[in-house]
């Protein structure tokens, strides 16, 4: 479990994360949502130790990450897998070598054992016949899946995904979302996802944190979010007229005022 207590982070005079507290539980997908500049990326970078917070605590299973020395942090990081927005695959290595890299670095397994593990995780993310390809030779969705495979190859306890759907079409996004959810459930990983994709929120949001200008504005799950009365959250979720209409329709449908099975021609009359 990851616990964040009163986290603060600023750059110069500007406070980017202001007094944010949260709990992220194993087997749950915690989604951090918010518009661009709301501080969600900085928040995630603080969690994984790429930024040092100005104050507050980040507890990994009760151990404060912010006060650890580099060696202790290394031990925690070995339990972390991360999928980056741009996948961050090593350009000069093949897919197989990319996934094998953490195994080479941190295990003493034989090449055959490592290759077996690589093929297992590639199979888990539904990728075949890409072992010898370079990142430049595969599609964006495949890169994300390779990124996930590399992130889970050492069986991490914590999985962080920064904008996993950016640059992907809606169908591929759905595949990536489902994969993240399945892996979280299967391995009981504590997963934290940074996103502003509402499809992801509705699909995999076991726990959602909405950030607004560095503050935690709302917290809940994907069943509660649609009924939230928080104006800032609603303005973020239902940004377009189409989505507002869709929400109204859904509400009416739930109240029984619209028959969802009614012929579309009748509705349009």
């Amino acid at each position: 479990m990851i616990e964040v207590k009163k986290l603060k982070k600023g750059f110069g005079d500007k406070t980017v994360i202001d007094d944010v507290s949260a709990e992220m539980k194993p087997g749950n997908c915690t989604l951090i949502i918010g518009s661009s500049g709301s501080g969600k990326t900085v928040f995630m970078k603080c969690l994984v130790g790429l930024f040092h917070p100005d104050s507050g605590e980040i507890l990994y299973d009760g151990h404060d990450f912010t006060t650890m020395n580099e060696d202790e942090k290394k031990e925690i990081r070995k339990q972390i897998g991360m999928l980056f927005q741009g996948s961050a695959l090593f350009d000069s290595l093949t897919v197989e070598q990319n996934i094998m890299f953490p195994l080479n670095m941190f295990t003493k397994d034989s090449y055959a054992q490592k290759l077996k593990r690589v093929n297992e995780v590639l199979d888990r993310v539904n990728l075949k016949d890409v072992n010898k390809k370079f990142p430049a030779e595969i599609s964006g969705g495949m890169k994300k899946r390779v990124g996930i495979a590399r992130a889970i190859v050492l069986n991490p306890k914590y999985l962080f995904c920064d904008e996993p759907n950016s640059g992907l079409d809606p169908q591929t996004s759905l595949v990536i979302d489902k994969l993240i959810k399945e892996i979280t459930d299967e391995y009981k990983i504590t997963t934290v996802v940074n996103t502003h994709d509402m499809n992801s929120v509705m699909e995999i949001g076991d726990h959602i944190i909405y950030m607004y200008q560095g503050l935690k504005e709302w917290e809940g799950n994907n069943k509660e979010i649609i009924f939230s009365k928080n104006e800032k959250l609603n303005a973020f979720i239902f940004a377009s007229e189409f989505l507002k209409d869709a929400k109204d329709m859904r509400m009416l449908e739930m109240k029984g005022k619209i028959d969802n099975n009614r012929n579309m021609d009748d509705l349009l009359k």
């Binding site: 790429l50 580099e70 290394k74 925690i76 070995k78 980056f84 741009g86 961050a88 080479n104 941190f106």
Partner: protein, 233 residues
């Protein structure tokens, strides 16, 4: 940055592989340009020295001595290292810069790898190992180039050239050349590594960092060249 490089490698075998890869990239990768430059550098210095030595009282073997000492003392270490600052320096800066911008360095950090140790140390060590060898190869090829150019253009015979090479030879000059080579190797690997590792922004900034790294490395090589000459000669 240099201080942060010294930490225990997570896996010695992976680091060794990376070190050997860098030796190949820096050493073998630059060999072609070093061979071409060195040969013509020696050839041109032989022809130009002969052009300036018009006195009949100066023996022709002096041309070989001048070519030898110029190549060993200055051309092989300094000229080659300035070229390498462009070839190797821009490569190191752009490679690390691209890794920084595309979050590959962050990915390594999150895996629990000391990125300064893994990415920078093998490059600096590889440069310290391979560049002095390149300088030695350059000096030999420069002298050979002078010999071939001298005899091909009829300035002096190969036998006279060989005789001149053995006259008044000071082994200390080789030590001086190697001292320069080690110093320059450190400069042309660490400065670009610094600029590349700490780059911020996108592709434009990578280009700027790469250019800045080469310019600063070249200036520092020339500055160090003067300091070493003043101190050691």
């Amino acid at each position: 940055m240099i201080k942060g490089m010294f930490s225990k490698p997570e896996n010695m075998r992976v680091y060794w592989k990376e070190f050997m890869h860098q030796c190949s990239e820096i050493g073998i990768g630059s060999l072609g340009i070093v061979v071409i430059i060195s040969f013509f550098m020696g050839a041109v210095s032989a022809v130009q020295t002969a052009y300036q030595l018009v006195s009949p009282v100066i023996p022709k073997s002096t041309i070989a001595q001048i070519v030898r000492d110029t190549v060993i003392l200055e051309f092989a270490p300094t000229l080659v290292c300035i070229v390498l600052a462009g070839v190797v320096g821009s490569k190191i800066a752009s490679e690390l810069g691209n890794m920084r911008v595309s979050e590959q360095i962050d990915a390594l950090e999150i895996m629990g790898i000391n990125t300064k140790t893994y990415l920078i140390m093998p490059k600096i060590l590889a440069a310290l190992i391979t560049i002095p060898f390149l300088v030695i190869i350059s000096a030999v090829l420069g002298i050979v180039g002078g010999r071939i150019a001298g005899s091909a253009s009829g300035i002096l015979s190969a036998a006279t050239y060989d005789k001149g090479l053995l006259q008044n030879f000071f082994a200390y000059n080789v030590f001086f050349a190697l001292s320069k080579a080690y110093t320059f190797a450190f400069i042309i690997s660490s400065i670009p590594a610094y600029y590349g590792y700490y780059v911020k922004g996108g592709s434009l900034e990578i280009g700027q960092a790469s250019t800045r790294a080469v310019v600063v490395s070249c200036v520092l090589v020339l500055f160090a060249d003067y300091i070493l000459a003043a101190l050691l000669l």
